[in-house]
Amino acid sequence: MDRILARIKRLPKETKIRFIIIFVITACLAAALPVYSWFCYQRKAAEMYKVEYPNSLYINAANREDQVNFRLAGINIGELRRDEEGYYLNENNERVTSAELAAAITKKQYVFSVSGSNTKRYILQLAHTNNNLFDYAVYEAEQTSSPPSGNVEYIKYQIDPGAHKENPFAVIGTDVAGTTAAAAVTTSAGQTTSPAVTTTAVKYYTKGSMVMQDKDPATDKNRSTDANEDVHLAKDSDIYFNETYGSSANVEAHAIPTYLQKEIRDFETDESKLFCHYYILEVTWNGDRSSVEEKETDMVYLSVSRTN
């Protein structure tokens, strides 16, 4: 071994360099050859898929707050019209001096929201019993962070902090402590606007066009074929009656529910495919107290289902 090393040492510099080059090239070839042969026996295939954007649909209280904040408090039909400072108002919303001159309230409005992602169509449904002589209607609503200008009727809504546990999408703006700002939602005209980012704790809702309402039960008695936007009062021989009560005829007439539904479609979503629509549920009654003295409880159901 020593002799070999000695001999290598004795070699001229030129020869040593040659030896090194040869050694390196051989090593490279040795490494390259198996790689080439590995490539030789390889074939590839692939299958391609398109991923669906996550879809979701929520029904929430105003400002997309948790459902518990949608409160259909008791309706006092004897209540008189007052302004925010407690003054009585007449028919024209003018302040009057006494309760005798004040106009009676004939309606109550409740705001709720439908929001979600990657939804092209959904059906909004309302069902209610008919114990009270109330009429129900659903309107589109526009949310703003300041009161609408002019003599426009609006609903003022006090934000409940920390009320976004159900709907994981961030509420637009930074108006609720603890929620992060999200990109403004672009929606079609008349349904929702993108409210400015403010720190106010109040939202204002203005009524838009009507979505659906009760019709005269007498004329709608047997209508059940058009499922898109009609009112269905479940009555004898109606499929809605049969599905609910079967062949039983002994059902209290006012407990029989009325169903309303409308398919909402062709609305815009933002770049993240999110949307948010606000609605007002309006309950109206005849101001004549004598017709509504027998107070009863009604059950009201709101639901949405995705249809795409």
């Binding site: 080439y36 590995w38 490539f39 030789c40 026996y41 390889q42 074939r43 590839k44 295939a45 692939a46 299958e47 391609m48 898929y49 398109k50 991923v51 669906e52 954007y53 996550p54 079609s188 062709d266 815009e268 770049e271 993240s272």
Partner: protein
């Protein structure tokens, strides 16, 4: 005469002769080396692409196998190369030439399935790869199948001034959507470590700033798609005994020996994949907790498979759970054991799984399941 004198005594003529001969030798060596180099290069090309080299002197040993596919949704063109920038367009407007469903299509780069793009997939979807291997030799063939997933994002394009670029028709008019809005041009970008650079080239600042989330989403996709080797039983009369698959390929490689005597026969390599909807279907050992929604991916009695999948969830937890930073291995072990089931822990894990799904859906637009078949 001394040794030295012997050399110095040589005439100039001798030295020239010696130099020439050395040069000739060197030239010869180089020529041979060059020839070897050429042969190797041509041989590689010829073998890999299945073309015949024009030089008569080169003879290439046959490829030991081909991969093949068949079915109505197959495209057998060499399209993988085009799946770069033109990916989406190619995918949606690809040729619609009628294809004989019984023919096996072979090639170097196969597309196993073609879809018009209507079929969007999400959690809960599954499928089978139509993959066949056709041995071209008489003897037994050992193959290794490697499965991989490549994700692509659809990125909106901006110009150098960061203004959106909108789609135009052939008359140079803007194309409008149903709401009368202009449609921004998009491009599919492979989600890899160069994603930020690719998105930057399209001047999409949002995508650049969210590059880490895109890369994470692609990783979640790799974690959420599971591969299997055999169909399960989804039609058992006893609903409690139904399950989707057998033989989970948690290592993503399949080794198989095709017996001798199968030359030119198409041998199917069964590969099933599933993007499981909920974690409960993967991890819960049974439904005693009543938390399992949908059929389990593996039979409750398949303890080997279940153990492999559990190990997979532990070792790949960063690719399975969006909240992997708060998940310890013991969480997964506890949920996999009916004795130590804890609803709170299960919710933590499920939330992480579902949030990862959401991340995939909102960031990844297309993905490829890539199959590499090798023989040794």
């Amino acid at each position: 005469m001394s040794k030295l004198n012997k050399y110095t005594a040589r005439s100039g003529k001798d030295r020239r002769k010696k130099r020439r001969s050395a040069f000739m030798k060197l030239f010869g060596v180089f020529s041979i080396a060059f020839a070897v180099f050429i042969f190797a290069t041509i041989a590689w090309f010829a073998s890999n692409n299945g073309v015949t080299a024009n030089t008569g002197t080169v003879s290439v040993a046959g490829f030991p196998f081909d991969i093949a596919t068949k079915g109505s949704k197959v495209r057998y063109y060499d399209v993988l190369d085009e799946w770069g920038e033109e990916l989406g367009i190619d995918y949606q407007t690809g040729s619609t030439t009628a294809i004989d469903e019984e023919t096996y299509h072979t090639g170097d780069k196969l597309r196993l399935r073609y879809d018009s793009g209507d079929g969007e997939i999400g959690p809960g979807d599954s499928g089978q790869l139509q993959l066949y291997v056709i041995p071209r030799i008489d003897g037994a063939l050992d193959i290794t199948v490697t499965l991989g997933i490549t994700a692509y994002a659809e990125i909106e394009k901006f110009d150098a001034d960061n203004q959106p670029i909108y789609q135009k028709d052939e008359n140079d008019e803007f194309i409008l959507d149903a709401f009368g809005d202009k449609i921004q041009e998009t491009q599919l970008v492979e989600i890899n470590s160069d994603f930020a650079a690719s998105a930057g080239a399209l001047h999409n600042a949002d995508a650049v700033s969210e590059a880490a989330e895109y890369i994470k989403a692609a990783d979640y996709l790799r974690g959420h798609i599971l591969f299997f080797g055999e169909n399960g039983d989804t039609s058992n009369q006893n609903k409690d005994l139904r399950y989707y698959y057998k033989k989970p390929y948690t290592q993503r490689t399949i080794t198989k020996t095709i017996a001798a005597g199968n030359k030119d026969e198409a041998i199917q390599i069964p590969v099933y994949w599933m993007w499981t909807d909920t974690l409960g279907q993967i991890l819960l050992p049974d439904n005693s907790s009543n938390k399992r929604n949908g059929l389990p991916i593996l039979s409750d009695t398949d303890t080997t498979g279940k153990a492999a999948v559990k190990q997979y969830l532990i070792s790949e937890k960063a690719r399975v759970f969006a909240n992997s930073n708060v998940i310890s291995d013991s969480y997964i072990n506890e949920i996999a054991d009916p004795e130590s089931f804890d609803a709170g822990i299960f919710k933590t894990l499920s939330d992480g799984y579902n949030n990862a799904d959401f991340s995939i859906g909102s960031k990844v637009r297309y993905f490829l399941i890539e199959v590499t078949v090798e023989s040794t």
